[in-house]
């Protein structure tokens, strides 16, 4: 296991006793003094797809050539006379150059202790490995989850081999803790190699956990034990009714090699497509240990994975299993609705609606039928639609375009699991605690109301056997009219500005609300003065109201919701200060009073900033990327990034600044910490740049 330490000791004495070095890898050849491993990042998801060029060293005078390029996750292939790796060269695809362990990449001899011994041993090994580091770019890290945060790593090491990876993986809790802490420690820019891991069934999960490099040793071990590996797990060949390959070692090994190489391609494709999580969920059900590991990842390391999870993607989010409920982006959506979200001021009646299979909801037949009913109401703009759904909990209508609300696909059965019921109940309860309405109408089917009824006492229930039946729709119309009337009475009973405080007491921290004047939209309700959008007519005052003005005001408040959802309460409110919204949903433009455009909502569900909009967000101190003093021409690369707001995620709209001056706006290609740390890779795809 670790006598490799002798190598260190003996080398100091000038005696190179290679028999003590790690096996044949070192023994068989000169140790390349320097190995160049350059890593560039192409595509990003929860995991990295790194393009790695290995330029192995070699004996002096030998032409090292151009090296090899691989995409991660990748296998490092073990090869010896007894167990040659040549069989799997057949499966090397163009994106998977064939990297031989010990030849193309040399893992230095290192000290390590078994995982279960006290932390002092690991710290000792870490110190020794650091002292004996040969500058070859590969560093063996001995750490347990306790001392991983303090582990020392050479600055120029670009591949970190994690000792005891396999032992750690045998315990889901330990593994998750170790893998995430090690990843936090080594940062975004290095590759993590897990020696002895990489069976096809666990490859996707391990990649999702942050591991980039694997080796073929488990494939050899399994073949020796007569075990056939594929994405379903490890299956004893002798017990199979129909055998997929010959029963000799070589045949099984070849089968395992192919299964592994094929799965690596699938994982890389999934990363490139942004669907790794879906692949992971399909794979983990092969083994309870894998499921346990995924659950630990979701529950125990939410912050770690949320930071690495894009805020936007165009693919369908398939929420096919119970574990989908805890995907980072889904949990993030629920948290944002709970923490950042405030209902629009103009909303007086809450309408709970069932979700639809078609996304965004408003494109579905059922929601178009609901819209027709709403449209016929005189005060339709006072009705706030909130969709009750799994796995997102609740989706206010104005956020229906946001990821993943417009992108998820769940099995539709009309039946709720206990987990879903619990999750939805807690979302609804938290929502109603923060946002109050004059009246509530529920158009949810009976089986949903069954477990929600106690949370919405007094709600007018309008759904019959089917939400879209003529009877249900007509009841919906009546219910809404009654609710609007009741809400109006509620307002008349408590006249004036009390409405703002009464219905949305928590909203004080939304910039503009407490300032009173100027920011028309926030104090528009109930004051009856010269407020609201440029129409100058208040809403909810009972005075003669313009439907158009109410409509515009609603548009603006809904946009404020989106801005707050996207940029946070402070920056979102600053962005919308005095702004108005024009255009036909979903292609709406946001304008400042001056007439300058601040941004635009598109069907990608996010607000795209203009330079002017960016200035507002940057002034509020959020979603800002600080760059060196240069005029951006194309994309911003990480090397030019000095710092970035920690809340930035891949896919976010960000403002590129230098010393307080906005230079560009665009879409982040990596998260804030990552673009700050990395020295390469595209950080921001710019949309607009300042002139000059």
């Amino acid at each position: 296991m670790f006598l490799s330490m002798l190598f260190v000791e003996v080398k100091e004495k000038g005696l190179l006793r290679l028999s003590y070095a790690v096996g044949k890898f070192i023994k068989s050849q000169n140790i390349p003094p320097f190995m160049e491993i350059s890593i560039s990042f192409k595509n990003r998801d929860v995991a990295r797809v790194a393009q790695v060029a290995f330029s192995p060293g070699g004996s002096v005078g030998k032409n090292t050539g151009g090296g090899k390029t691989i995409l991660t996750p990748a296998y490092l292939w073990f090869s010896s006379e007894r167990v040659p790796a040549h069989a799997c060269t057949t499966y090397a695809t163009q994106s998977d150059a064939f990297i031989l362990l010990g030849k193309d990449i040399v893992i230095p001899t290192s000290v390590h202790y078994p995982l279960s011994v006290p932390s002092e041993f690991h710290a000792l090994a870490n110190r020794q490995n650091l002292a004996s580091y040969d500058g070859g770019g590969v560093f063996v890290l001995d750490a347990n989850s306790k001392n991983a945060p303090d582990a020392q790593i050479p600055d120029d090491a670009s591949v970190i081999a994690l000792a005891n990876s396999r032992k750690a993986f045998s315990n889901p809790r330990d593994f998750v803790e170790l893998a995430t802490k090690v990843r936090e420690r080594i940062g975004y820019g290095r590759l993590l190699y897990a020696p002895g891991l990489g069976e096809p069934s666990s490859l996707a999960l391990l990649t999702y956990s942050g591991i980039d490099l694997f080796d073929s040793i488990p494939l050899i071990e399994a073949a020796r034990d007569g075990l056939v590996l594929d994405t379903d797990g490890r299956i004893r060949l002798s017990g199979m009714a129909e055998k997929p390959c010959g029963d000799d070692f070589d045949s099984i090994l070849e089968y395992n090699y192919k299964a592994a190489a094929d799965e690596a391609v699938r994982v890389r494709n999934a990363i490139a497509a942004g669907t790794l999580r879906e692949l992971v969920e399909r794979r983990v059900v092969a083994d309870t240990e894998l499921v346990a590991t995924l659950r630990r990842l979701d529950r125990g390391s939410y912050a770690h994975f949320e930071a690495r999870c894009p805020v936007m993607r165009q693919r369908l989010l398939v929420a096919a299993c119970p574990d989908s409920l805890n995907r980072p982006e889904i949990e993030r959506f629920r948290r944002l609705v709970r923490e950042r979200y405030r209902k629009p001021q103009c909303a007086r009646v809450l309408l709970l609606l069932p979700c639809s299979a078609r996304k965004p909801y408003s494109k579905s037949k059922s929601h178009q039928a609901f819209a027709d009913v709403l449209f016929a109401r005189r005060d339709m703009d006072a009705i706030h639609e909130v969709i009750v759904t799994s796995p997102l909990g609740i989706v206010p209508r104005e956020l229906e375009l946001a990821y993943p609300a417009a992108h998820y696909d769940v099995p539709v059965t009309g039946l709720w699991s206990e987990d879903e019921k619990h999750m939805i109940r807690s979302c609804v309860a938290a929502f109603l605690e923060k946002n109050s309405y004059g009246a509530i109408v529920s158009h949810l089917p009976g089986e949903t109301m069954e477990f929600l009824r106690d949370l919405v006492p007094g709600a007018i229930e309008t759904c019959g056997d089917s939400p879209t039946s003529a009877e249900s729709l007509s009841r919906l119309g009546e219910g809404l009219d009654n609710a609007l009337e009741a809400a109006k009475n509620a307002h008349t009973a408590v006249p004036g500005a009390a409405d703002g405080a009464g219905t949305d007491s928590d909203a004080g921290h939304i910039a503009g609300v407490d300032t009173g004047g100027g920011a028309g939209h926030n104090n528009g309700v109930g004051t009856g003065g010269d407020v609201g959008c440029d129409a100058g007519i208040g809403i909810g005052t009972g005075a003669a109201r313009s439907t158009r003005a109410a409509f515009e005001c609603k548009n603006r408040e809904y946009m404020l919701s989106r801005a707050v959802h996207q940029f946070g309460v402070k920056a979102g409110s600053a962005f919308m200060e005095g702004a108005c919204v024009k255009g036909r949903y979903p292609f709406q433009k946001i304008f400042a009073k001056s007439g300058k455009q601040l941004g635009m909502l598109t069907d990608r569900g996010m607000i795209s900033l203009t330079i002017e909009g960016g200035e507002r967000v940057a002034a509020a101190g959020a979603y800002t990327v600080e760059i060196d003093d240069f005029k951006p021409r194309g994309s911003i690369f990480a090397v030019g990034v000095r710092g970035a707001s920690s809340e930035i995620r891949q896919g976010d709209d960000v403002v590129v600044c230098h010393a307080g001056e906005v230079r560009a706006v665009g879409v982040a290609c990596m998260n804030g910490a990552e673009m700050t740390e990395l020295k390469g890779g595209e950080a921001v795809k710019t949309r607009h740049k300042t002139e000059g």
Binding site: M1, M5, S19, K24, S80, Y113, S116, F169, S170, I235
Partner: protein, 374 residues
């Protein structure tokens, strides 16, 4: 290595010793052995009586202790009167049935007078030497207790008996490498200490039996096997007998701690055989008059050196035959027999030798996901 010193100390302290009777010995049995004829120099079969005394415990154990040694489980870990030891000896003496060799083990150092009082040392050795049929008395000790004075005194006691009795000291060299002995065994002495003890003993005509350890914790199978083979070769230069001892997992040791957590696997019998073959070939090639022997404690069981369970018997049999004949051909025949059973585990062992170093972790023993199949 302070970490190891402290960890072994903690391990040995954390168990509660069983209540032991200080006047009852641990065990006693008679076994087959070889003895060299003083005249012809030829090795001949004989019987040996093994007496295992219960003492206070090894002096090193009381400081820290070795990573694999659990003999302290039989020790008192408390004071003991010399009379208790004498009672043990008197109880065992009737078991003597004319064996040519008597081996006295006390799970510590016989020459350490804080463990075995001088009076007891003298009485035991003197009595055995006077029996007439005893031709060799074998004792065990750590090297620091080997001094000219102590040995001369014991030789004097033997001479009093008037018989031609050889004295042999068993010393646990474990590994010729100070690194392995220090960091993997936590043995607490250096190779130089061993060398000194050997030269002191040999200057007085006292024989040396050198114990070589196979696979202490923290080594890969390959490292362990190669280290054992090299140690056998090095020990053969001076010792009269070299005994290869594969680690068996004894309770309350560091090896046990790791084994229970699936982070240690005792050596494969294949490694035992391989190390013996390498050693025997060296001995034969250089015409050394040293006896290489091996009696794997717990061989074939999960806590001892073992293979797959199918071929273990064939190899254990070969090792036994080799030990009693010094003929390495038995080992090679054993390999062929074991291979012939079709278990295929030699290939798995060869994989282990090749791959384990690249794993930076254990081969074959991890548990959890890696122990499952359908």
């Amino acid at each position: 290595m302070d970490e190891m010193f402290a960890f072994c100390r903690k391990m040995n302290r954390s168990f509660r010793p069983k209540k032991q009777d200080p006047s009852k010995p641990v065990a006693c049995w008679s076994e087959d052995d070889l003895i060299r004829d003083a005249g012809s120099g030829k090795w001949a079969a004989c019987k040996a009586l093994v007496m295992i005394f219960r003492t206070r415990g090894c002096s090193w154990l009381l400081k820290s202790g070795c990573t694999m040694c659990g003999y302290f489980n039989d020790s008192l870990m408390a004071g003991q009167e010399p009379s208790d030891l004498m009672s043990q000896f008197e109880a065992l003496l009737p078991r003597y049935k004319g064996e040519a060799i008597v081996k006295i083990f006390n799970s510590g150092s016989f020459l350490d007078d804080t463990e075995v009082a001088e009076s007891v040392q003298d009485a035991v050795v003197g009595k055995l030497a006077s029996l007439g049929e005893v031709r060799k008395i074998s004792l065990e000790t750590r090297p620091e207790y080997v001094t000219k004075e102590r040995l001369a005194r014991l030789l004097g006691v033997i001479a009093l008996g008037g018989n031609d009795v050889n004295l042999e000291l068993g010393i646990g060299l474990e590994s010729a490498s100070d690194e392995v002995r220090g960091r993997c065994v936590n043995k607490g002495f250096a190779y130089a200490d061993y060398e000194r003890a050997v030269s002191v003993a040999q200057s007085l005509g006292v024989g040396i039996k050198s114990y070589v350890l196979l696979k202490p914790p923290f080594l890969t199978e390959k490292e362990a096997m190669e280290d054992a083979a090299e140690t056998i070769i090095k020990a053969s230069e001076t010792a009269d007998v070299v005994s290869l001892n594969p680690v068996n997992v004894q309770s309350n040791t560091l090896a046990d701690y790791l084994w229970k957590r699936k982070e240690y696997r005792p050596a494969w019998l294949w490694s035992v055989v391989e190390a013996l073959i390498r050693g025997a070939e060296h001995i034969d090639r250089n015409g050394l008059d040293v006896r290489l022997q091996c009696d794997p404690v717990g061989g074939g069981s999960i806590r001892g050196a073992h293979n797959c369970g199918t071929c273990d018997g064939a190899l254990l049999d070969a090792i036994k035959k080799f030990t009693l004949t010094r003929d390495a051909a038995h080992l090679k025949r054993g390999i062929a027999t074991a291979n012939g059973c079709g278990c295929g585990c030699r290939e798995k062992w060869l994989d282990t030798l090749e791959c384990e170093g690249a794993l930076f972790g254990n081969y074959d023993v991890t548990g959890g996901f890696y122990s499952k199949s359908r």
